[in-house]
Amino acid sequence: MRSAVIVFPASNCDRDAHDALAQLSGREPHMVWHGDSDVPDVDLIVLPGGFAYGDYLRCGAMAAHSHIMRDIKRKAEQGIAVLGICNGFQILTEAGLLPGALMRNADLKFVCRPVELVVEESQSGFTRKYSKGERVRFPVAHGEGNYFADEATLDRLEGEGRVVFRYAPGENPNGSARDIAGILNEKRNVLGLMPHPERACDPLLGSTTGRALFQSLIESLT
């Protein structure tokens, strides 16, 4: 699997994403500067976590208009896989590649903790190595992860099997509607999620349940 990690000014999980991809795929991902006009020819584009443009205006709002996003939108339409983690998820909603918005956490505080998630959907290139209903544990670390969309959109996401990760009962750290932690686009090639699978790939860090996400991608894209 060939992959690229986009680096925005003040991305800060770019190295973590790079390491997870390099270790699990055995191939060095391209690190692509946001000011570049083209993403190299790859199978997967990752928008990493961080505070792109300082999260000024709104999280992800300025990054969504970054130079590189034009090519990412084009490639997403062509069916290239795009994974947005945390700030990357926020950028994807701001860019219109995923529906809904990520608001401030319900208690207005940043939250960092491992959370238990339910894999709601294993019928996707991102989750085929999981089984439906499987429990996984990824850390969250965000101040604005409170997923919001209107009822019709939420119903549609659920109806089309596009809610891929849900916070397990009692684990919702941010007030997200219907405990949603991660969603797919209509074509199922773009995934955004708030929790960090790349921080759950090493037994020393407490969980390895994030590996299957990258392994699913490797299996579907290689």
């Binding site: 670390a141 960090h196 921080r199």
Partner: protein, 731 residues
């Protein structure tokens, strides 16, 4: 020219004597810009004029030390060509006035100190002291400081991995916010601040200069009074986004060999960075302020030289390398301006709008500040608490529950969940243990980091208290299996012009020096914060110690969580039941009395070395040091962390055994078959050790009566902080 009046001197925090000295050095009267420059450079904050003579007694050398005090941060060798760069610094006064920005810019400032040296910051810690929970401002200050630390550190993508928090009425009018940054560099790529050579370009990078923070260093060198809120405009405003770009740009430039010297613009901004770089390099610096990137129009030379706008750096480049450097800073969308050059005159010359507005000897500014031998009176050490003075009839387990839910012992989860402690994917021990542990990226080595001091001990006996702070830091590093390497110290005290306060400072420095020497644990960086008092009420003496240790093989590391049932619980160290100045005495009996526990440094070393050898040999994976709250609190923390209970066979032990705060002690939980051999080895090594009981079930029991469930312990431990912060009105 502005006349220099006594009132003007007072507003600049300069004494008549100091002014006389300035005139002697210059052979003339200074102008206002020059007076301003002298006032910040000779402020307590920048010059250490009250402590310098005493700080010389601290041990600063060792085979592991690459750089001791005197640079932006200390540097330690951790083998394989790797070096650790670290320092702790206070941002107390600004944080009291404006908690969010004060704490945020404290974090930003200490990070710059570390990446200026060529290191990538990999972990942040903080040591916080607030006033009494029931004081009207406390909740607001806690909320603001925690949000500010998180707001800055989280955006930087550097994990905040631990720290400590105390509450005490002595901090009602003067909180303490001490932030520590630990970075990683290659040993042969350390950058320093000596601006050597003449004719080298002096380059300004980072944010533009504004009018914020003017005279921040002077504010930090005076006591507070009721009108301190009026000083709000002297607090700087932080922009972590720009700092993140500055970090990446600096590291990118540092990968080349274009830099001669680099220094961050922290306290006293452009003034101190230029004067210190010139003085260290034995050169001079000529600056043209017209070229300084400015945020607002019409700034005077005085304002520009004294501004403490954040996220700025001053560099001296090799001639001809400006273009290469500028391209890097342009890529990161940061200001880059050549604002002057080095000279061989030894003078700091500042030009503005075609005229020379300051012409001063750089060396005098940075090295010839007055050094005061302030008079001091030693503190009379209190008598030990009489054993009969304690009510020993209280039921231990109910007392334990009360203690676990007290402000100084309860869980700090409410705080650390607001910090991104897992970014960089190397945090192998998160907040809540003895020391945070962060892996050296891509290796099997790890750094253990801790911050410690027990101010209530220091108040009673600053010498023993300071010794204890160093010993506890050493012990916390040992308890995870690390070899303690070095410390940074952040000395927070009141007004040094009071002989009693000066006595505390002198005794604390002596205590630190003794402990560091005995434990081979040198001081490599530090910061003094004096004048921490409001309306004449000083804080508790608070010499915060930040310790760093090395775990050579991360596979052999201990943590505090019970791992399985049936493990033998072993107590290492001598228990006499010392209750003087204990949390038991304060929280349960409402008294702050007696002498603090003494630290026997030889015993500390013997016991700690014994425990570390067991960890390194893979024989003890569950270890906890015993400190605040004593043995039963430590045991409860191990049970809560592992979700497993314990049965002690100590039916007849009393309050003093369970809650005494004797030093040099650890609790271990080891497989039962190891227990006997460890006890035998301890006896041979002259290390006191005894079998206390066994890990068992889901409750803590003392061998008689009913126990208390781990769930109940957790409920008590986790409840206080969220409830306190959620309350609308002061508690």
């Amino acid at each position: 020219m502005t006349a220099i009046t006594p009132d003007l001197l007072r507003r600049h925090g300069l004494s008549e004597d100091e002014y006389w000295r300035i005139k002697q050095l210059l052979n003339r009267e200074p102008n206002l810009v020059e007076l301003g420059i002298f006032s910040v450079m000779w402020s307590e904050h920048c010059s250490y004029k009250s402590t310098r003579a005493h700080l010389r007694r601290l041990p600063t050398k060792g085979p592991q030390v690459i750089q001791g005090p005197g640079e932006n941060a200390g540097v330690i060798d951790i083998g394989d060509g790797d070096a650790v760069v670290f320092k702790m610094e206070s941002h107390n006064h600004p944080s009291f006035i404006e908690p969010y920005q004060g704490a945020a810019t404290g974090v930003g400032g200490i990070m710059r100190d570390v990446f200026t040296m060529g290191a990538r910051p990999i972990a942040m810690m903080n040591a916080l002291r607030f006033g009494a929970p029931e004081h009207g401002k406390t909740r607001h200050l806690v909320g603001g400081v925690v949000a500010g630390i998180g707001g800055y550190g989280n955006c930087m993508g550097v994990p905040t991995v631990g720290g400590e928090v105390n509450f005490h009425p002595a901090y009602n009018g003067n909180i303490l916010v001490n932030a520590m940054c630990v970075g990683l560099a290659r040993k042969d790529r350390i950058f320093k601040s000596a601006a050597e050579g003449a004719g080298n370009p002096v380059v300004y990078v980072g944010s533009k200069t504004g009018r914020d923070g003017i005279h921040g260093a002077t504010m930090a060198s005076a006591e507070f009074s009721e009108d301190s809120q009026e000083k709000r405009p002297t607090v700087q405003v932080g922009d972590p986004f720009t700092e993140k770009l500055l970090l990446e740009a600096c590291l990118e430039l540092m990968a080349t060999d274009a830099i001669v010297a680099i220094q961050d613009m922290g306290a006293a901004g452009l003034t101190s960075s230029s004067a210190e770089m010139a003085a260290k390099g034995g050169s001079g610096i000529e600056l043209n302020l017209d070229r300084v990137p400015q945020r607002e129009a019409g700034m005077t030379a005085y304002e520009m030289m004294l501004s403490e706008s954040q996220e700025r750096m001053l560099m001296v480049l090799k001639p001809g390398r400006e273009g290469e450097a500028e391209r890097i800073f342009q890529k990161w969308e940061l200001d880059f301006a050549v604002i002057g050059q080095t000279t061989d005159t030894g003078r700091l010359i500042v030009k503005h709008q075609g005229t020379i507005v300051a012409d001063l000897p750089a060396h005098a500014l940075s090295e010839e500040a007055p050094v005061y031998q302030r008079s001091y009176t030693p503190r009379a050490v209190p008598l030990p608490l009489a054993r009969s003075a304690v009510d020993s009839s209280r039921p231990p387990l109910a007392t334990l529950l009360t203690l676990l839910a007290s402000p100084d012992l309860c869980s700090r989860r409410w705080i650390w969940e607001q910090y991104d402690y897992s970014v960089m994917a190397d945090t192998v021990q998160q907040p809540g243990g003895d020391a945070a542990v962060v892996r050296v990226h891509g290796s099997t080595k790890a750094l253990a980091i801790t911050t410690d001091v027990t101010p209530r001990y220091c108040k009673a006996d600053p010498f023993e208290g300071a010794k204890q702070a160093v010993a506890e830091a050493w012990r916390n590093l040992t308890a995870v299996g690390a070899v303690p390497l070095a410390i940074t110290d952040n000395l927070n005290f009141g007004n040094p012009e009071r002989p009693e306060t000066m006595g505390e400072i002198v005794a604390a420095i002596d205590g630190i020096a003794d402990a560091c020497r005995a434990l081979s644990f040198p001081v490599v960086s530090g910061n003094c914060s004096l004048y921490n008092e409001t309306n004449g009420e000083p804080i508790l003496p608070t010499p915060a110690i930040g310790g760093v240790g090395l775990i050579k093989d991360i596979a052999q590391m201990a943590n505090i969580a019970f791992k399985r049932e049936g493990d033998a619980i072993i107590l290492i160290g001598k228990t006499t039941g010392h209750l003087g100045r204990s949390l038991y005495l304060r929280e349960i009996e409402g008294r702050e009395e007696g002498a603090p526990p003494a630290v026997d440094l030889a015993e500390e070393k013997r016991n700690g070395d014994f425990v570390r050898r067991l960890i390194e040999a893979g024989r003890a994976g569950t270890v906890h040091d015993i400190s605040d709250g004593g043995l039963l609190v430590a045991l409860a923390e191990m049970a809560m962390a592992g979700g497993i209970g314990a049965e002690l066979r100590r039916e007849n032990a009393g309050i003093a055994f369970f809650f005494g705060e004797d030093q040099a002690r650890y609790l271990l939980a080891v497989p039962a078959r190891e227990g006997e051999s460890i006890l035998a080895e301890a006896a041979k090594a002259a290390v006191p050790a005894e079998l206390l009981g066994t890990t068992k079930g889901d409750a803590l029991s003392l061998g008689r009566g009913v126990g208390i469930t781990v769930a109940a312990l957790r409920a008590a431990h986790e409840s206080w902080f969220p409830a306190f912060m959620a309350a609308e009105k002061p508690a």
